[in-house]
Amino acid sequence: MIEEKFDAIVIGAGMSGNAAAYTMASHGLNVLQLERGEYPGSKNVQGAIMYANMLEKIIPDFRDDAPLERHLVEQRLWVMDETSHTGIHYRSDDFNEAKPNRYTIIRAQFDKWFSRKVREAGATVLCETTVTELVRDAKDKVVGVRTDRAGGAIFADVVVLAEGVSGLLGTRAGLREMPKPQTVALAVKEMHFLPEEVIEQRFGLKGDEGCVIEAVGTTSRGMAGLGFLYTNKESISLGIGCLVSDFVAMMESPYVLLDALKNHPSIRPLIAGSEVKEYAAHLIPEGGYKAIPQLFGDGWVVVGDAAQLNNAVHREGSNLAMTSGRIAAEAIVKVKSRNGPMTKRNLALYNAMLDKSFVVKDLRKYKDMPALLHTNSCNFFTTYPRLMSQAAQNFMRIDGTPKIEKEKATTAAFIKARSRWGLVSDAVRLAFAWR
């Protein structure tokens, strides 16, 4: 089908694949990008919050024409029980700056824009093409791919695997293991459409200002999970995700959790009267530093979600994906510029460069966090949220009980639920994992 040999083939047109293809093509490499969806973005799902800094490093003037929804001026972190939420809200006019720091985006639209930039940079983008197999030479070096289109193999010096969280190719080729049920979360999300002015009124926003809510608590029914609500221009993305291993252990259904979240008294008024136009599901890598696989080999590198590069604590994924794609591309460009072959030894440069970036530094910082959340997660996601709600209500409700007795009751409730030793141990474990 395609006779020419490419400098690089990129598999996948998500954040990491687009970043890699754009960066290599802008440096003059002959790049072929393959995407199985009808259009770039048609298979991609994200909340979604996009961090400007990481995209600026790839496309500095992206604000001129990228489809951005709202820039965030307010973030609400909630702990929920069945009838309440206790929250920390941070809102600042400082976020109304000339070049805002974070935006909500709608991935299908954003990915189409990013893909147009990739083509403008000179790459060939082929959609509706599923890569079925990696082609290797006698020495086991990856030298190309086979697709479900008619024709034979397509060859390249290097293959960039940007195939997403459960990427079939790399796992089947034995380049890395399949993610484990305890290292991936399953998230479901609905798109709720509302008039722009209704969203602005409900969240106290003007113009392009945006607000996001992220919530832990009994909404995940004791499982390690997170609910989220992101304001877009004319829609609200509402979703919830929990570890796959927890879903299995509890035999819970994600859509039941989502419907319960929608009916929570703190959420229901925010989405009242909306029209739902899509329901999506996706896996999120949650294993952190310890789940990062081998990132390079003879003739290949792996980037983004496929490399499990996701910061679960800060809920950052696409920026790690973009950055790993860019860095892998820069490493390939460097090897190419000195006429080096795309061997494992030369491509180790990608690993070394990534190690020095925020991507690996952040994941290393939180390397013990996944294990903490996987053991006795019900304390963090059910017991403490209930205790916090009780403590807050006890503090707020004025009923003639002397304050000293109220404080004693709150302390007693914490000790009864977790014991003194349990409280100290939870605090110490959390502090060590956060450190």
Binding site: Q46, M178, V248, E278, Y279
Partner: protein
């Protein structure tokens, strides 16, 4: 009764989505079995599109038309060989309008 209500709700959700179904070429298959393993059985609850269901013999069956290609069942049941999972052919399957 509760199960029926839940199921109809998922179908309502999936009805909003756009799919291009590759008729006669399901991208996921369940291996014939006597009794499902714990993971395979869990898919009847955990699959976000409720593609997996029990037949009257207590075996797990799949109808992948509403599949959102999240990969949860692949993570749980491919290694053991209980299911076969392939990407749909290029252009087929779910087509997210928003993602």
């Amino acid at each position: 009764m509760t199960i029926a209500v839940t199921k109809s709700r998922v179908e309502d959700k999936l009805f909003q989505n756009r799919y291009l179904v590759d008729s006669g070429r399901p991208h996921i298959k369940v291996r014939p079995h006597e009794r499902p393993s714990a993971n395979l059985l869990a898919l009847t609850h955990v699959c976000p599109a409720k593609c997996y269901d029990l037949n009257d013999k207590g075996q797990v069956e799949i109808t992948p038309d509403g599949c959102m290609e999240c990969g949860t069942c692949r993570i749980l049941c491919e290694t053991s060989g209980e299911i076969e999972w392939d990407y749909p052919r290029g252009g087929f399957g779910v087509l997210f309008k928003f993602g």
